[in-house]
């Protein structure tokens, strides 16, 4: 009986955990309840994913109102995949925060962090699971508002400005999205995603649909930090508390990519998207520029958090590159990279949080001689870095492999060369860490020998192990991504 309500519970439990954490106030109680709620969502997401794999998509009617009148929660191969990623990372970062956030915030404010973390997890899960375009906007704002607060918790005063800038741009993005949804509603009279997909081809005014496509594209691109709309991202990631950076980097932009996929392939359909606007060419061009410039900018960063923040912009470029191919292999690459990059970046930022805790900073100077003083942390960064580059045997390789397959299928050999060449730039910026950690003598800012605390190291290493695990054993991640790609290309979900 309760199992039938899992699609609702996966969102509602972390949503209710947030006010509970505020009422309990004690930081240990808040931590326990946040971790337990996220772990529940993770378990529920795994169960849902197993059920979807066995029996096909699940449609859950909130309050028993059937769609298109009521709000529908819909779990299919793609959304189950993203649910697992978000709830899994949410659980690990909640556990990690016990030591990490306690070192960065005053004791009496800790419960607020856990409340915001739960809200953000609930918002992102809700964005993923909902089958209603306006409901998605509400969850988007829940996730965004809580992430502005999370970023503003950073110790540096520049965190406040970063949060403010993200608030302005994020709100413009969400408002653009809601304008687009409004135009779609005016054109079709429905908000249910599946219903929209059905009615859109008969829409009376193609111009309203064109405007909706443009508004939604720009709005969601702001949220997913598609070049050149990425300016909020490096500052937000650099000045937020470490646990927040890891969580947002691994999930927030990925869920926005998921929304873009849903709208392009689930609602508008590939034919309409390419007919109304040259969207594939635009995405291709922006992705190429994103990968190239952000990778090059990352090369010149002195701060590890900023370095990997710019690398995130570049990696999102790979995902949108896969979307622009709009072929089976291209979409597989996009979906699997969404997951693989999530765990890779999560691992990297969790480990950098350990360095920041021990060295009271995350500049490359702090990393000098780190191979000796923090061997496990440094080794983790190197392995996750290899996954970022796309070395065979790591998760990053799998996604680049499908990207290259997609490029070959499209017959664009220059794209293959481009993917390989830009991976070399990634190798260059990861090498800067290796050089500092293993080939430099300890400097004035190198921390005393001693590892990251175990409660932080274990979550980080679980993700590092996942980077290697999903590089060697690809049947689940690639299998799900291929099913998701087939689903997206097959028209309405």
């Amino acid at each position: 009986m309760t199992l039938a309500h899992l699609p609702a519970l996966v969102v509602v439990v972390p949503l209710l955990a947030a006010p509970l954490a505020v009422l309990l106030r004690r930081s240990s109680a808040a931590w326990a309840i946040a971790s337990a709620a996220c772990a529940f969502s993770f378990a529920a997401a795994l169960l849902l994913a197993a059920e979807v794999a066995a029996q096909g998509p699940i449609s859950y009617h909130l309050g028993s109102w059937p769609p298109p009148w009521g709000i529908e929660y819909r779990v299919d191969a793609l959304s189950a995949f993203v649910l697992v990623l978000v709830s899994g990372i949410g659980t690990l970062t909640a556990l990690y925060a016990w030591r990490s956030i306690a070192a960065e915030l005053p004791r009496d404010q800790l419960y607020l962090y856990y409340a915001m973390h739960c809200l953000c997890v609930a918002g992102l899960l809700g964005m993923t699971i909902t089958g209603d375009a306006f409901n998605l906007f509400v969850f988007m704002e829940i996730a965004s508002l809580s992430s502005y607060v999370l970023i503003a918790l950073g110790r540096d005063r520049r965190a406040l400005l970063a949060a403010y800038q993200y608030l302005i741009l994020g709100t413009i993005g969400a408002t653009f999205y809601v304008i687009g949804v409004g135009l779609l509603y005016l054109a079709t009279g429905t908000l249910n995603i599946a219903d929209l997909a059905e009615r859109l081809p008969q829409a009376a005014s193609p111009r309203a649909v064109l405007a909706a496509l443009a508004f939604i594209t720009v709005g969601v691109s702001l949220k997913l930090a598609l070049f050149p709309l990425h300016f909020w991202l490096p500052n937000a990631y650099a000045y937020a508390p470490s646990a927040v950076t890891a969580f947002l980097a691994a999930t927030a932009t990925k869920v926005s990519v998921y929304v873009l996929l849903r709208f392009y392939f689930g609602i508008f359909g590939l034919q309409l998207v390419t007919e109304l606007l040259p969207m594939r060419e635009i995405l291709l061009a922006l992705s190429l520029v994103a990968i190239l410039t952000a990778s090059l900018v990352a090369l010149w960063q002195a701060d590890l958090k900023r370095l990997f923040a710019y690398s995130s912009v570049a990696q999102i470029g790979y995902i949108t590159l896969g979307i622009s191919m709009a072929s089976h292999d291209g979409l597989t690459a996009a979906v699997v990279h969404l997951f693989n990059h999530g765990i890779t970046k999560g691992a990297l930022f969790l480990l950098i949080g350990g360095i920041a805790l021990r060295a009271r900073g995350a500049s490359l100077e702090c990393a000098r001689g780190l191979g000796r003083s923090m061997p496990l942390t440094s080794l983790g960064v190197v392995i996750a870095g290899l996954s970022l580059i796309g070395v065979p045997g790591t998760a990053g390789f799998v996604s680049k492999w499908y990207l290259v397959l997609g490029a070959i299928e499209a017959g664009s050999w220059w794209l293959v060369a481009f993917v390989v060449a830009t991976s070399l730039i990634a190798a260059a910026y990861v090498w800067r860490f290796v050089e500092a950690a293993y080939l430099s003598a300890p400097g004035a800012r190198t921390p005393e020998p001693g590892e990251t605390p175990a409660t932080m190291l274990v979550p980080a290493w679980i993700l590092v192990a996942a980077c290697v695990g999903f590089g060697l054993q690809t049947s689940w991640s690639v299998g799900t991504a291929q099913r998701a790609a087939a689903l997206l290309l097959g028209g309405a979900p």
Binding site: E141, Y148, A152, R157, L161, L167, T171, V178, G182
Partner: protein, 121 residues
């Protein structure tokens, strides 16, 4: 006639562009938030205005009334208004914190303060 007949759309577009312009052109953090609010408000109008049918009544089933206004946009926009209020409140709270930390709410002065402290460190 048709240009004037669409006057609610014209108001929507003017509010939308004006709000967005304020966000981009003004350096004062409070003014930016006001612009953002105007921008969001234009969306409320975009949703609500088409819900009204000329001659339509409130959507209550009764004898003698055949044309009803669409209530759904009102419900959606109630939610959107709550979101807008929350965003404005959070934005203002952050501006208060920024003023405590920097002693200013002018964007260029804050950026200059960061550049100076960055050069000094």
């Amino acid at each position: 006639m048709s240009v004037l007949g669409h006057y609610s759309y014209w108001i929507t577009v003017i509010l939308m562009v004006a709000g967005l312009y304020i966000v981009i052109a003004r350096g004062n953090l409070i003014k930016k938030l006001i612009g953002l609010s105007i921008f969001q408000t234009s969306v409320y109008l975009l949703y609500i205005a088409p819900g009204k049918l000329i001659g339509g009544t409130a959507p209550i089933v009764a004898d003698g009334f055949k044309v009803y206004s669409n209530p759904l946009p009102h419900v959606l926009i109630l939610t959107a208004i709550v979101v807008g209020v929350a965003t404005l409140a959070l934005g203002l709270a952050i501006v208060v914190r920024i003023r405590e930390a920097y002693g200013s709410i002018e964007e260029d002065e804050i950026l200059a303060a960061d550049r100076d402290s960055g050069a000094g460190a």
